[in-house]
Symmetry: D2
Subunit: 312 residues, 4 copies
C-alpha cells in the first residue's frame, strides 16, 4: 500500500519538535549482538549508513568529513606519531584515517562488539577500505575503559570515537573527568586525546560545552573545533586535549599543515588541509560564549545522560 519511493524513513529526532528525516532505500543488515542492535541501511540522501540501537552513526556520503575532522588535526600536530589508540569507531573509518599517516607503526583499535566488527567488514567496505587488514592494525575486543585502566605503553594519540552520552548509553562513562584522567596517563609527552563531542546545534548545544569544561579540568590545553556535517544536519563538536607540550593549533598556519601532510606522504584527504585546519579551530562567537559560561563538570558520580528539551 505504500508508495514505491520512500516507504520507510529514518527519523533523526533532534527533539520532540525537530527532526532530520531520510528516505530509506533498502535495509541491508539487521543484527542483535550481546551489546546492541546493529543495523545497516541504504539512504537515498547519503548512501549506506550504520545504526546502533536506533542511533545513526555515520553516512557513506559525508563520513569523510566526520572522520577526517576527528583524526587528522591531532596527527598533523604531532611531529612523529607512531603508536595510536582508537576506542570505538567500529565502522573502521577512524582507523582508515589513522593509517593514512606512514609514520604510524601500530594502531590499536579497542571495540567491544565483534558483531559490529563483522557487520562493518562485510557491509561497510567504503568505510574501512581494508583498514582492518592493514599489518599495523591490532584489534582488541574489550571495553575501552577497562583497556585504558591497565598500565601499558604510552600512545601518541588516543581517539574516542564513541556514541553520545545518552540515557542507557554505555558510553556515559567515557565522557567523564575520571575517564579523561585515565586517558591522560596513557598519553606520550606532547600527545593528544581527540574526541567527538556531540552536536553544536542551537537547540542541542548542551553537551559540547560540558565536554570542553570537563576536559579542561584534566588537561592543560584543550582546543575545541567544530564543523558542519551535512548528514547530521548541524555543526558537530570535537576537541583535542594535551599536556601543554604540543603545538597550539591556532598558531600553526595553513601552509605549515599543508607542508607536513605533503612531507609525511599523507594521501587521499578530501576535507582536511591547511585552510580547513584554520577554519575548524576558529569557533563562532556564540559557541565560544556558550563554552565560556559552562560550569558543569561531567563526573562518574553524575554523568550527563539526560535528553535536553531542544527548544530555543
Amino acid at each position: 500500500m505504500a508508495d514505491s519511493s520512500g516507504y520507510m524513513w529514518l527519523w533523526d529526532s533532534f527533539s520532540e519538535a525537530e527532526a532530520h528525516i531520510h528516505a530509506v532505500e533498502k535495509l541491508v543488515f539487521v543484527g542483535q549482538s550481546q551489546y546492541q542492535r546493529v543495523e545497516i541501511a541504504d539512504l537515498a540522501s547519503y548512501g549506506r549508513c550504520l545504526i546502533l540501537d536506533g542511533e545513526i552513526q555515520s553516512h557513506q556520503a559525508d563520513e569523510f568529513i566526520y572522520h577526517e575532522a576527528l583524526v587528522q588535526p591531532a596527527l598533523a600536530l604531532c611531529p612523529d606519531p607512531r603508536r595510536v589508540l582508537l576506542i570505538g569507531g567500529g565502522e573502521g573509518a577512524t582507523l582508515r584515517e589513522v593509517l593514512r599517516h606512514p609514520t604510524v607503526e601500530e594502531a590499536v583499535m579497542v571495540e567491544l562488539d565483534p558483531v559490529m566488527l563483522e557487520a562493518a567488514r562485510e557491509y561497510l567496505p567504503t568505510f574501512h577500505a581494508g583498514a582492518f587488514d592493514d599489518p599495523r592494525t591490532r584489534i582488541v575486543c574489550e571495553d575501552g575503559r577497562a583497556y585504558l585502566e591497565r598500565p601499558g605503553e604510552p600512545f601518541d594519540a588516543i581517539y574516542l570515537d564513541i556514541t553520545n552520552p545518552r540515557i542507557d548509553s554505555p558510553s556515559q562513562l567515557l565522557f567523564t573527568r575520571e575517564f579523561y584522567q585515565t586517558a591522560r596517563k596513557r598519553l606520550a609527552r606532547g600527545g593528544w586525546l581527540a574526541i567527538q563531542g556531540d552536536s553544536c546545534r542551537f537547540t542541542g548545544l548542551e553537551t559540547f560545552p560540558v565536554v570542553i569544561r570537563t576536559l579542561r579540568e584534566v588537561f592543560p590545553k584543550v582546543h575545541p573545533s567544530i564543523i558542519c556535517i551535512p548528514s547530521y544536519g548541524s555543526d558537530w563538536g570535537y576537541a583535542i586535549a594535551g599536556d601543554g607540550h604540543g603545538a597550539d593549533p591556532l598558531a600553526v598556519t595553513a601552509a605549515e599543515i599543508d607542508r607536513r601532510l605533503e612531507e609525511r606522504g599523507v594521501r587521499g584527504l578530501r576535507f582536511y588541509d591547511g585552510m580547513t585546519h584554520e577554519r575548524i579551530f576558529r569557533l563562532p562567537k556564540h559557541i565560544r560564549a556558550a563554552i565560556e559560561k559552562e560550569e558543569r563538570v561531567n563526573t562518574d558520580a553524575d554523568p550527563i545522560r539526560e535528553r535536553f528539551p531542544g527548544r530555543w
Copy 2:
C-alpha cells in the same frame, strides 16, 4: 542521534498529500528473493508486519479482520466446501482461515516465492498458526495464473489474496477480465471466487469499482463487501463472485450464518459472525454510487496500473 523511540517510521503513503505512518520498533528480517524484497518488522502500533517490495501487506494486530473478511463469507455461503484454492496469501493466514472449516479436505496454496514462504514460516507464527503443516494443505510454488490455466478438478472456492494492481506489480494480470474467465472455469457449480479489491478510501476509490465492474463482465452474481481495517487506515473492498447457483449473501440472515458456523464446528473467529456478515455486504450509499457509475473494464490489454492522484 535519533530519539530512543521512533527512529524509523513506516510510511504508508495514500498519495503525495496523505499518509498513514507507523513507528517501527524493530526490523526482524530482510531478504531479497528472485521475485521481490521481503521484509518483516515489528511496529509499535500493530505488532509484526510483512512488507513486500515496500508495500505493507498485513499487521499482526488486525490481520484477523482482513483475513476473516476475505475467507469466511464464501465458505459460510457454500453448503459443503471441500476443495479450496488460494493464490497468494504468503503469510499463511488465508490458509489458516480456510482450514477452520472441518468440511475442507484439501487446500491448495499457490505461492510463487519460496523465500516468502520460508520467512513466513519462521517469523510470522501468529499468522499461519501452523497451517502450513496441516495434512490438508498442499503448497505449490508457481505462478497462480499459470496454475489456473491448466485444466484440473474444480474448486468450491478460489481465493485471490494478492497485492494491488500497481505499476510494475506482477499482480496486474490477476485482476483482469481474462483472468477472471480462467478462474470461473475452475469453479465448481455454486462455488465462489473471493478477492480482495484494494482500498475504499475517499481519496483512493478508483480501483475497487473497476474490479467490481470487471467481475460483473464474467460472473452472473457479484457481491461486493467492505470493512474498515484499522492498520490500513481505511475501508477495504472485497467481493465474492459466482455462477448464480450460490446463495444471495444479502438474503442469508445473521441467524442462519451463526447456525452454519456452529453446526460446521468453525472455531476461533473474532471478526466474522452473523451480524458481521449482514454488515459487510451492505455498502454505504456513496460507495454503491461509485460502483454503479463505473464503466471501465479491466483487461489484459489495458490493465489498471496507474497511481491515482488521491486528491478529492
Copy 3:
C-alpha cells in the same frame, strides 16, 4: 527552502507511534477566541477543514459521511420530529442535516463560541450551506450543559456534536452519566439523544465502549453504530439512546427507511439511506465484544480524559 508542494503537514496523531498526515495547501483563517484557537485550512487530500485547539474537526470532502451518520438515523426513526436541539456543531453541517427534514419546525443550536460561528459563516460555506439563515434556526451562544440544565420544552432529538473528551477539553463533562441524565429529562417521549463517540480504531478503542456503557446506565435503549470516515483514517463510533418508546433501529428495514425519507421529502443525502442504515447499526463482532466487556462508567467525579497509549 521548503519544497513547493507539501511544506506544511497536518499531523493527526493517533498515538506516539501512529499518525495520519495531510499536506496543507493553504491556511485560510487563524483566530483566537475567548475559548479556543480556531483555524481553517485547505488540505490537498480532503479540502477545507476546521481545526479547534489543534484538533481536526471535519473535512469538506467527507464531512457528509460524519454528519449524515450523526443526524439522519435518529430523525428517520422518529415518526414526526419537530423540535431539535444541537449542542456544538459549530461548522453548521449538523444543523444543515437536521433542516433537511421538512417536519422540523425549530432547530436550536447551542454553540459556546461566537468566533467559531463567525469563522464558519465566512469560511465554511459548503458545511453550513446557508443553514444559519434558515427561519427555523435559533442560535444560542451559551454552554450546552448550562442550557440543558434549565427547564424547558422537550425535544424530539438532541444532538451532541462536541469534541472528544481529552485532557483540558471543555467537553469532558458532556460525556458523563450526570450529563446524560440531564439530557434525558429534556427528551420528548420516544425521542432520541444522538452522539458522536470517538474513534473505533483498533489502537484507539478505549473511549467508545465507555460511552456506550455510560449511556446504558441512563437510557433503557442504547444503539451504537459505526462507520469509516476516510479523513479520520478509521471507523467512527456513534450512538442513539432512547426511553424505550422509539423503534428498534435493527428491526426497521432498509425499505422502511427509504419509504420514510421519500415520504417526508428529505433531499440531498449522499451517505444515508435504507441500506446504509442497515449497515451502520450492525457492528463487527470484535467491537461488540469490546463494548460488552467494558465496565467503566464515565462520571463527573472521574471523567475520561486520559490519552490512551495506542499500542496494540
Copy 4:
C-alpha cells in the same frame, strides 16, 4: 483528533528523500499579497519564523547568525561605509545589522511587497528591532533590479537578501551575470556587493558554486564564505565581491576586525567578531573543490531554476 503537541509540522524539504521538520506551535499571520503568500508562525524549535510562498525565510532563534554573516563582513572591511543599499530583506533584520554601524548615513531598503513590510513591522519585532523607524532608513517599494538599473549615487555596500533562485521564483533574475554587472556599476570604489548564496549541504551544493563562478565573471575579487545555520540544518553560502580596491578578507586579522568594530562603536553582535571572521572565509577543502570545478555561468538567458535531485 490530533495530539496536543505537534499537530502541525513545517516541512523543510531538502529533496524528495530528505527533510528538516519543525513542530508549529501557533500560526500568527496568514496573508496574500499581490506578489506572494506571507505567513508567520511560531515554531517550538526556533521561535517565530517568516514563510514566503511556502519557503521558510528565517527563524527568531538564529537569524542573528544568518544576518550578521550576510551584513557584517562587508561593512567591517569597508573603511568608512556611509551609503548602503539593501534589496529584499523584508524582515528588517538585514537593515538592523547595517544600522549598527554609526558611520552609515543612509540605508536604502528596496522591498517589492508592502504587505510583507506591514506584516514584519507588526509581527517580527525582534527581527527589525525598530530599524524601519531609524531616521537613516529609506524604504522604497519597488523591484530591486529596476531600482538598480536607473542611474544614481554609488553605494559603499549593496546587499542582496533575496529568496533562492527556484522555479517560478521572481529572484531568478537577481542571481545572473547581467544583474551583477548592473550592481557593479552602482558600487563606490572599494565597495562590496554582498549576497546570500543558498545552501552548502552535501546534497544541495549545486547553486552556490554557480553563484561564485558567475560573480567571478563580473568582479575582480570574489570571496565566498560559509557558516552553519542551525535552523536551516546546513552550512549556508555567502560571498562578497569587489573591484579589487577593497581589503582581502583572508589577510585581515581577527585582531584588526575586533579593533575596527570597537573603534567604530558597533554594539550587540552575537555571532560576528574577529575570530568568526577568520572562520567563515576559510572554506573546507571539499567545498573549495566544488567551487573550483564549476563551469556554469548563470545568465538572464538561462538562469538556474531547477530543483536538484539531492541525492549523493
